[in-house]
């Protein structure tokens, strides 16, 4: 497949690039088919499954398929069903839709039926389910658009793009402040995803520049889901010359 991701700053981590391109290719075909200039955010995954992708779609009680089943894909019937219990959880529901779409587009030769359960996720051992998860993340949070949003956050706050991108990769309180207070709230809102989906997605991204570190420090992946251990320290972070700094440093630098 000759699809290129129009990114300038970030790349998907190695090993995820094929799925990344499949998701991007699907998004572009939907956009063109609907005559849109841009991909709208949040990506209307439920509508696009029905049109233009033309799969049968619906919500139903899927408890007959087993405990904890959130979604199901029936390849021959070209049908995706989502469990009625997840309809009120916006992020979970959208992710399940995109996950099932991943099965439909990637795995038609693997099995004829797929069920997603609560047990699965980024840590799943099932390769097929992991691929569907990666497709869902790439479909809901396409890398070129994530990159554009991050750059926009920096620009809107008049932050230094290069210094702040570098800072993001560190495990400092300034980096944690940027992730917690600036980026993750914007990314979850703009892309219509849960906090854990946004964190996992950022964990899949690498800076294009040669770097010994991933964009999201490994120490933050789990920690960002919970309250910060740094507590009030984050409240004392302020922007100075376009770069976040701990307030105590102001006086130090001034003197």
């Amino acid at each position: 497949m000759s699809v290129k991701l129009p990114t300038r700053v970030f790349d998907p981590s190695y090993g995820r690039r094929v799925i990344e391109r499949r998701a991007w290719s699907c998004l572009q075909r939907c956009r063109k088919s609907l005559g849109l200039d841009q991909i709208p955010l949040p990506i209307p995954v439920e509508q696009w499954i029905e049109s233009p992708l033309e799969f049968h779609f619906g919500f139903a009680d899927l408890s007959y398929l087993g405990d904890g089943v959130l979604g199901a894909t029936f390849i021959r019937e070209r049908e995706i069903l989502i469990h009625e219990g997840v309809t009120d959880h916006e992020g979970r529901c959208r992710f399940t839709c995109a996950h099932e779409l991943g099965h439909m587009l990637l795995h038609s030769s693997v099995r004829t039926e797929f069920h997603e359960t609560n047990d699965l996720g980024p840590g799943s051992n099932d390769v097929v389910e992991r691929e569907a998860d990666r497709f869902a993340a790439a479909f809901l949070m396409p890398l070129p658009l994530v990159e554009a949003e991050i750059v926009k956050v920096f620009d809107d706050c008049r932050m230094d793009r290069v210094q702040c991108t570098w800072e993001l990769m560190q495990t400092t309180r300034e980096s944690e402040w940027m992730w917690r207070k600036l980026l993750l709230p914007v990314l979850t809102r703009r892309f219509g995803v849960s906090l854990s989906t946004a964190i996992n997605r950022c964990n899949d991204i690498e800076p294009r520049i040669p770097s010994p570190r991933p964009l999201l420090p490994a120490e933050f992946v789990e920690a960002l889901l919970h309250r910060s251990a740094r507590g009030d320290e984050l409240e004392a972070i302020r922007l100075r010359n376009g770069v976040p700094q701990y307030a105590d440093l102001f006086t130090e630098q001034a003197s």
Partner: protein
């Protein structure tokens, strides 16, 4: 990735409302279900022909989708409430209304309009008589 179009020559009412929702109104199942104040699974069942809507929901679907109530009633074989009400208001009506409807089964639109005008005149005449 194939973008397929189904070729069903006579779509069901479920297909018709689904297509209208997706292609004209451009709304997702959850969004439309919220507007109709029903569960998304309920709307799924209606679109797939597994359930028919209640009287109130049929009216809400008519308004939200911009499809005439009569078209929906015909498709779901659901008579207007007034038919049930008139047909069961007393013993005479319970006997005569079905008899009348069986007789009028094959009337065309113009004949129905004539019949309605006659019924209106008869009803008006009865009212005048009652007033005297």
């Amino acid at each position: 990735m194939a973008l397929r179009r189904s070729q069903n020559p006579e779509p069901s009412i479920g297909d018709i409302i689904r297509r209208r929702r997706v292609e004209v109104l451009k709304k997702g199942l959850r969004e439309m279900a919220r507007e109709l104040t029903i569960a998304p699974a309920h709307l799924t069942d209606i679109e797939k022909g597994r359930r028919t809507p209640s009287e109130g929901l049929l009216k809400r679907i008519s308004a939200a989708y911009g499809i005439g109530e009569a078209e929906l009633r015909a498709a779901w074989s659901k008579a207007d409430e007034v038919v049930q009400e008139v047909a069961t208001q007393d013993t005479m009506s319970a006997e005569k209304v079905p008899q009348f409807l069986r007789t009028a089964r094959k009337l065309n639109a113009e004949q129905w309009d004539q019949l309605i005008r006659q019924a209106e005149q008869m009803a008006a005449g009865k009212t005048r008589k009652e007033r005297r």
